[in-house]
């Protein structure tokens, strides 16, 4: 059927707006649509294009640059393009994972925004046929002393807790930053990791003509009409309260039913293709399945179960009601599908069929109300190459490193202050509200360098880390993004894993401004450079642009989720201090500075220059893996926020055992800078004395600098010649810091 359907705008089926602009399209985009269709779309069709061609759904400003990321490798089972990417763990088991943002909904309504963010990323994983085994969160808030921040933290953490705990997926780690760059525009990123046998992997690209199309899960309501797609495609402004009805409401129990039913249908091999309904709802799910499968789809919009009366097709097609899936049945298996829906007490309704003709045909009340080529909706949005107008900020960050002039005797107090500071202090008061252990696979949960999960019935396990370097990126988006990739993979190495692949969530400002364009360009270039140097591919990701409020962009923020494999999970590097007498070493780079450091940040400085030596980073990671393979590593910890001093203190806090160490002497680096300065590519190692020669030999072989700092023992952290602090004081400062910062009673 290739006739031009004639749909006048006069029927009740049509939404109110008359102009493409009201659907969020520019005049040139409207022109492109008219050209693609060779006719004038009706209002419903404008609305469908508006959502599908929104930045959130179409990646208009990022697609061209994203193609430059390395996405292939020996372990890659599925690269970007599906609901999530996958790596091969061996023996037919795949690990499926993705990180995604839910920033704008969380800014408008923190509790539901964060909750539905968890729901969305879970559906991305089980839509692939994989069982989710872990979630992680990347959260970025403004200064903790602000009442607005405290409200956001309560809402966001409460929403994650509410949703994840009910569905029963452990929350095993993540990253939290408090910084002025997020005061008006918090970021909420969620990552999910799942497992699936290769034979059970499902796709959205395998629908065949003649198959029945089911919509299952929640009834469709007016909540979130074009919510994520449009809300996430413009800047936040003073009218945000008016957008609140656009935020979806989550029902985690329904999600649990949907999860179990979907995996049961996969196990029965009764489905041809699955797609979750997220941004742009039914329009996106149906057009994407049809476009990827090179088919069309006919949908009877009147058969879609609704929550409200009087909904017009536009509302049904663009609703972002949560907890819904589109399921394409294998021919002849419709009864099985309906039986599984019934067993899980799910409302699943046949709403249409797959057709050979590549058209998405929406019918209502006996007439065709929209008829569009799926690929025009899903694939043909314009791509804007931001390099054409990108420009570095005129006011380059100052290059001088902040001075330090406090007298040396205060240095012990400074360490305690840093340990209790919002970016360093223990996150336990947040993550203890998340179930971290359900599933009985969590070997190492939140609070460590990386999470470690075992896989029942297998020797190997996986490690997961989620990291970001917003302070560095604020100075230089390239280095910040590269440092985030380096840190996430380094954290995997610190628990004894081999990094396999990453997923990236790019949170940036307005790409239409020269500086925003430049930040996007440099962020992707930084990820690309780090991935090349560390030989690690990107298998999935998400881009969230327009994170700006009243014209002010957030700090460019690449949240990197990394997944690694531990050949024998019982031999991961545990999060312990080590035994008395063990040696404490620093491996990697000692070229630290106070630029972008937590220490300088507490004193109101954020300037300077951070450098990353990606070749050294690669050698460092290979060295630690090689030393661990020889059984020589007792404990390891990344030197991160707060520098070497905090890394040593955190090591001592793990088992409450002290140590006696001396700072490395490096020409031109002051003692305080050596203690609190930050820089990529540093790992503190704890080894048996007897292994020192072996470890030195392996370091030499990998051309990695190594300093022996001292030995574990006692109940004091003694860092000669600058401080000696009881471990009990370190524990208290670290444990109570975040509660104090957020104004909570401990």
């Amino acid at each position: 059927m290739s006739v031009t359907p004639m749909i006048s705008g006069t029927t009740t089926a049509q939404p109110k707006f008359r102009l493409p602009r009201e659907a969020g399209l520019t005049e040139s985009e409207a022109e492109r649509i008219r050209f693609l269709l060779d006719r004038e779309p009706n209002a419903l069709e404008w609305g469908m294009f508006g959502a599908m061609w929104s930045e959130h759904c179409a990646y208009k400003h990022s697609k061209t640059l994203l193609r430059t990321l390395p996405t292939t490798g020996a372990r890659v089972a599925l690269g970007p393009g599906e609901n999530a990417g996958a790596v091969d763990l061996g023996d037919g088991l795949l690990c499926v994972f993705k990180v995604e943002s839910h920033n704008h909904p969380s800014a408008v309504e923190p509790y539901q925004g964060a909750a539905t963010g968890v729901g969305g990323i879970l559906r991305d994983i089980f839509a692939m046929g994989a069982r989710p085994i872990a979630v992680l969160n990347g959260l970025f808030f403004g200064p903790p002393e602000r009442e607005a921040t405290r409200r956001l933290v309560r809402g966001v953490v409460g929403g994650i807790s509410f949703y994840g705990n009910c569905v029963g997926i452990p929350d095993v780690g993540g990253h939290v930053t408090f910084a002025p760059g997020y005061a008006d525009n918090p970021l909420v990123n969620a990552m999910c990791v799942g497992l699936v046998e290769r034979a059970d992997l499902r796709s959205a690209a395998t629908a065949k003509p003649g198959s029945a199309v089911y919509l299952v899960g929640s009834d469709t309501g007016r909540d979130g009409i074009a919510g994520a797609s449009l809300l996430a495609s413009f800047e936040l402004g003073s009218a945000d309260a008016a957008k609140r009805p656009s935020v979806q409401v989550g029902n985690p129990f329904l999600e649990k039913l949907l999860l179990e039913a979907t995996l049961e249908l996969v196990a029965l091999d009764a489905v041809e293709a699955i797609q979750d309904l997220g941004a742009a709802g039914l329009t996106c799910a149906s057009s994407e399945v049809a476009a990827k499968s090179n088919v069309g789809m006919r949908i009877d919009v009147d058969s879609v179960p609704r929550r409200a009366t009087g909904m017009i097709p536009y509302e049904v097609m663009l609703s972002e009601s949560q907890e819904r899936m589109l399921v394409i049945a294998r021919p002849g298996r419709e009864a099985d599908i309906e039986r599984v829906f019934a067993r899980w007490e799910l409302h699943g309704v046949r709403i249409g069929e797959v057709i050979a003709d590549e058209r998405l045909e929406i019918r209502s009340d006996g007439e065709i109300v929209a008829s569009l080529p799926p690929k025009a909706l899903a694939d043909d949005a314009p791509e804007y190459d931001v390099r054409e107008w990108s420009a570095a900020p005129a006011e380059a960050p100052q290059m001088d490193t902040p001075r330090v002039d406090e007298p040396v005797q205060k240095i012990g107090l400074e360490l305690l202050e840093l340990l209790g500071s919002p970016d360093v202090a223990s996150r336990a008061i947040l993550y203890r509200t998340y179930d971290q252990m359900v599933g009985t696979d969590t070997v190492v949960g939140p609070g460590a360098d990386a999470a470690v999960m075992r896989i029942k019935g297998r020797l190997d396990g996986i490690a997961i880390a989620l990291d970001a370097q917003p302070h560095v990126a604020a100075l230089d988006p390239f280095t910040g993004a590269a440092a985030a990739v380096a840190e996430a993979t380094r954290n995997l190495v610190c628990v004894g894993a081999e990094p396999l692949a990453i997923t990236d969530c790019l949170n940036l400002g307005n790409p239409e401004r020269p500086e925003g364009a430049w930040q996007l360009e440099r962020t992707i270039a930084g990820i690309s450079a780090a991935c090349d140097a560390l030989e690690i591919p990107v298998v999935s990701g998400n881009v969230s642009l327009y994170n700006a409020t009243h014209g002010r962009d957030i700090w460019p923020t690449a949240t990197i989720g990394a997944v690694g494999r531990i050949a024998d999970v019982t031999k991961h590097i545990p999060a312990r201090t080590g035994e008395p007498g063990d040696l404490v070493l620093l491996a990697g780079s000692a070229q630290v500075s106070l630029a972008a450091s937590t220490y300088a940040g507490l004193r109101g400085h954020s300037d300077g220059t951070v450098r990353i030596d990606l070749a050294l980073e690669a050698r460092l990671q290979r060295f630690v893996r090689a030393a661990h393979a020889r059984g020589a590593i007792r404990a390891a910890h990344d030197r991160a926020e707060g520098g070497l001093g905090v890394a040593l203190a955190e090591l001592a806090i793990r088992d409450g055992i002290g140590m006696k160490v001396t700072l490395p002497a490096v020409r031109g680096i002051d003692k305080r800078v050596m203690l609190f300065g930050e820089g990529p590519s540093g790992i503190v190692l704890v080894i048996r004395t007897a292994d020192e020669l072996l470890v030195r030999a392996i370091a030499t072989e990998h051309d990695v600098p190594l300093w022996t700092l001292g030995a574990i023992g006692g109940d004091i952290l003694e860092i000669a010649p600058v401080l000696g602090t009881p471990v009990a004081s370190l524990v208290r400062a670290h444990r109570d810091g975040l509660g104090h910062a957020l104004g909570r009673a401990s």
Partner: protein
């Protein structure tokens, strides 16, 4: 030993329990709540989760499932029944255990390791464990056990309190109480001792790799109880 593990739509600890039970040599079957038949089993477990989403009150809807009648029948025959977390809430809701579980006093969901003192060995799950101070995980938002004074006095007098929250040294202090539960009660038994409910998760601490094995002692006590004949509750 054959153990039935009940599964409601929103249960999420059923496979965790089945796995932990397999480690102590028990054969665990996961039974769907709507048609669960406990005949032929030596014991039943009602695991954790959010049986029906529990937006109303934890365990409230599960209490009207056909499984509730089946549990009552099995109890009449003396079958050992263990409810953990949401399972404890359900056993209280259906009247197999006294009292009720309400929102944690601090209002938050709490997932953490806690210490417990085992107060009674007159149950099939705690044989030989009386006086032991153990460490187990909790994960709940509604784990604060409450009852009227008479009920509390009765279960204390009868020795029905099985698990009490303590500090690391085994003292039942306010600091050791993670949810404000009355008299630091973490778990209790019915009068016969065959039905036991507790908020903590023994299935999550049955392997060294996961950070502890104290939960395994509870499951081992169950498998041992059959051999020693301590409980004559088998329905076979």
């Amino acid at each position: 030993m054959r153990v039935a593990v009940l599964r409601f739509p929103g249960t999420w600890s059923e496979t965790d329990f089945a796995h932990a039970l397999s480690l102590v040599g028990a054969d665990a079957d996961i039974l769907w709540h709507a048609d669960a038949d406990l005949r032929g089993y030596d014991a039943a477990v009602v695991p954790g989760g959010f049986a029906y989403g529990d937006y109303l009150r934890a365990g409230a809807i599960a209490a009207i499932s056909p499984a509730a009648d089946e549990l009552r029948r099995a109890d009449r025959e003396g079958m050992p029944i263990l409810g953990s977390c949401n399972g404890f809430q359900i056993l209280c809701e259906i009247g197999l255990l006294p009292g009720a579980l309400v929102r944690n006093r601090h209002g938050e969901f709490r997932c953490d390791w806690v210490h417990l003192r085992i107060e009674s060995d007159r149950t099939p799950f705690t044989g030989g464990l009386r006086g032991a101070v153990v460490r187990m995980p909790i994960a709940h938002g509604e784990g604060c056990w409450v009852a009227d004074d008479l009920t509390l006095a009765r279960i204390e007098a009868n020795g029905q309190v099985v698990f009490r929250y303590t500090d690391a040294r085994g003292a039942a202090t306010p600091d050791g109480n993670p949810n404000g539960s009355t008299a630091n009660i973490a778990g209790l038994a019915n009068e016969n001792g065959n039905v036991v409910g507790l908020m903590p998760h023994p299935e999550r601490c049955s392997e060294e790799l996961l950070g502890g094995t104290d939960g395994r002692r509870v499951l081992e006590a169950l498998t041992a109880s059959r051999h020693t004949g301590m409980v004559s509750g088998s329905v076979q």
